[in-house]
């Protein structure tokens, strides 16, 4: 079938409504509780097919109080007794684990979390849904979709200097605006995609929802095939076909410069240079945006042999990321530089536990949201790349990253 990747995977043209079997569906400890409630309320007696359902604890791990612990206990018991794939505390962020050889090209993926657009990096149609939609997926194995129109984001060239995928991500969010892609999908295309490693593609797809997009996708290519082969999966690349984009954007990667998203909007960016010298209270490196091994390695290269000037929290995205960082010595470099290491998971991103900001405090974070009060009442969040976060942690103020 011709068409955009969304049209080919969903098997219908943009604008049409389809009921579609879901190949992979996942919830975390936050949305899973409501999903289980809704599923019980629907009168469901059994899970339609547990083999494609995942429950992954990442939001408040380990539990911060007895209320959270009790909610997690109930969900854990259900997941295990109903034979859903279960990842307990310390396993890592749901989107990351689904990206470590679980989600495959061409699949339809639903996650009960807005950043479920992340594994679209593998050429899957992956999108976020709410808890009640997920409960219906548990019960029936399918859900309805409106096939989205797609925006083509054409990439050329290669990054230069200290710019990285996160800078491009914030730049395209700024170009489209917080609702510039509402009800649409983003497709990253062009010769500039070929050299982007999977970690970069995941970062780019992760931010898609910050433009309102339903999905962010790369076509599976030789890189994708190799990456998944290392995870034990044999897949075929996807070839782009002629298709109609409702809008097209072009980015030459060599024009991308380090930028920061200024609170409280992800689409309000400034060059790091314009904000240099702004005093910080905390730096946070991690999340489904920038907590992967390449991110930790980049951070370690910059802070190695030096000391951070302010409190700096580093949270690996998954146990596999943590293990790789231990194996290569990256973790030792980060700890010796004076950083705190958190349990693999979402860390302080959502302001519910560890690393909450105090009134008037300022955090530079590699996460994807800088909404008002998100990390703590009265705290402010600036969003940046890993290199900018590392340079700034060493100085205790926003600092322009050097060329590494």
């Amino acid at each position: 079938m011709m068409g955009t990747l969304s049209e080919r995977i969903l098997g219908a043209s943009a604008g049409e409504y389809v009921d579609r079997a879901v190949d992979r569906a996942y919830v975390h400890d936050g949305t899973g509780v409501l999903t289980l409630e809704a599923w019980k309320s629907m009168g469901a007696k059994r899970i339609q097919d547990a083999t494609h359902l995942h429950v992954l604890f990442d939001h408040i791990v380990p539990a911060n109080n007895s209320t959270t612990a009790t909610l997690q206990h109930e969900l854990r018991e259900f997941a295990c007794s109903s034979f859903l794939h279960f990842s307990d505390i310390g396993g890592g962020i749901c989107h990351q684990i689904m990206s470590e050889g679980v989600v495959l090209p061409g699949e339809v993926v639903a996650g009960a979390d807005s950043h479920a657009c992340t594994p679209g990096a593998f050429g899957a149609f992956a999108t976020g849904v709410g808890a009640t939609d997920m409960a219906a997926i548990w019960m029936t194995g399918e859900t309805w979709f409106r096939v989205p129109e797609s925006i083509g984001i054409h990439l050329s060239g290669a990054f230069t200097g200290a710019a990285e995928a996160k800078d491009l991500a914030l730049t395209y969010v700024s170009r489209l605006g917080m609702d510039g892609a509402t009800y649409r999908a983003l497709e990253f295309i062009g010769e500039g995609t070929a050299a982007l490693p999977m970690d970069d593609r995941l970062t780019l797809c992760n931010l898609a929802v910050e433009t309102g997009a339903k999905a962010g996708m790369f076509y599976a290519d030789d890189f994708t095939v190799q990456y998944l082969a290392q995870a034990g999966q044999t897949v075929q690349p996807q070839k782009p076909e002629p298709c109609r984009y409702i809008q097209s954007l072009d980015f030459d990667l060599q024009d991308i410069v380090p930028v920061i998203a200024v609170p409280p909007r992800v689409d309000r960016i400034k060059p790091v240079y314009d904000l240099a010298g702004l005093p910080l209270d905390q730096v946070f490196v991690g999340t489904c945006t920038n907590g992967r091994y390449a991110d930790l390695a980049r951070f370690a290269r910059i802070v190695k042999g030096r000391k951070v000037a302010i409190r700096t929290i580093v949270v690996p995205a998954s146990r596999a990321v943590l293990q790789e960082a231990i194996r290569t010595g990256v973790l030792a470099d980060i700890v010796e530089a004076g950083c705190s290491i958190g349990t693999p998971g979402c860390g302080p991103c959502l302001g519910a536990h560890m690393g909450v900001l105090g009134e008037g405090e300022v955090c530079l974070s590699t996460a994807n949201r800088n909404f008002k009060n998100r990390m703590g009442v009265g705290g402010e969040i600036y969003l940046s790349s890993v290199a900018t976060a590392a340079a700034s942690a060493l100085e205790g103020e926003i600092s322009v990253p050097g060329v590494s």
Partner: protein
């Protein structure tokens, strides 16, 4: 589906963190969400939700997929939310929990009487009638059932 209420105006790009903050999510007690709805946007809003029609700017409900946002608004007694556009996950969540959403760009004045008819596709604010974008047939069915839980109770 028809309804009416008093307009409560909020701005554009209202994210779900502003509807219900992350620090209140870890509970199944809906009354906590109702008590703290819109707390980080405007402390006075929670007390004005019963019988209200929220009139928002574009992209209402962006950000986190937390369904507690739609539940908090519905259980606070809000009749419907009117906005030129909604973030898509919130859109599905609201319909799934039986909260009517009306896609329409109208001028908001706090306290104005608002009425609507989703089947006929109009909303009237301060005597001005505007056409609304219709919900898909599936969404109309879900909303008519009172939400997706009730829909599957009768179809499952």
């Amino acid at each position: 589906m028809q309804g009416k209420g008093r307009a409560v105006c909020v701005g554009a790009d209202i994210d779900t963190d502003l509807v219900i903050a992350g620090r209140y999510l870890r509970t199944k007690d809906h009354s906590i969400w109702v008590a703290h709805v819109f707390e980080d946007l405007d402390l006075s809003l929670a007390g004005r939700m019963n019988g209200a029609v929220i009139v928002a700017g574009k992209n209402f409900g962006c950000g986190s997929s937390r369904e507690q946002a739609a539940i908090a608004i519905r259980e606070a007694g809000v009749v419907a939310v009117v906005a030129p556009s909604f973030a898509r996950i919130f859109f599905r969540n609201a319909i799934n929990v039986g909260l009517p959403l009306i896609e329409c760009d109208i001028t908001c004045r706090d306290g104005t009487a608002i009425s609507f008819d989703l089947a006929e596709g109009w909303v009237e604010a301060g005597g001005m009638k505007s056409a609304t974008r219709p919900l898909s047939p599936k969404m109309q069915e879900i909303l008519a059932a009172g939400g997706l839980v009730n829909y599957w109770r009768s179809h499952g």
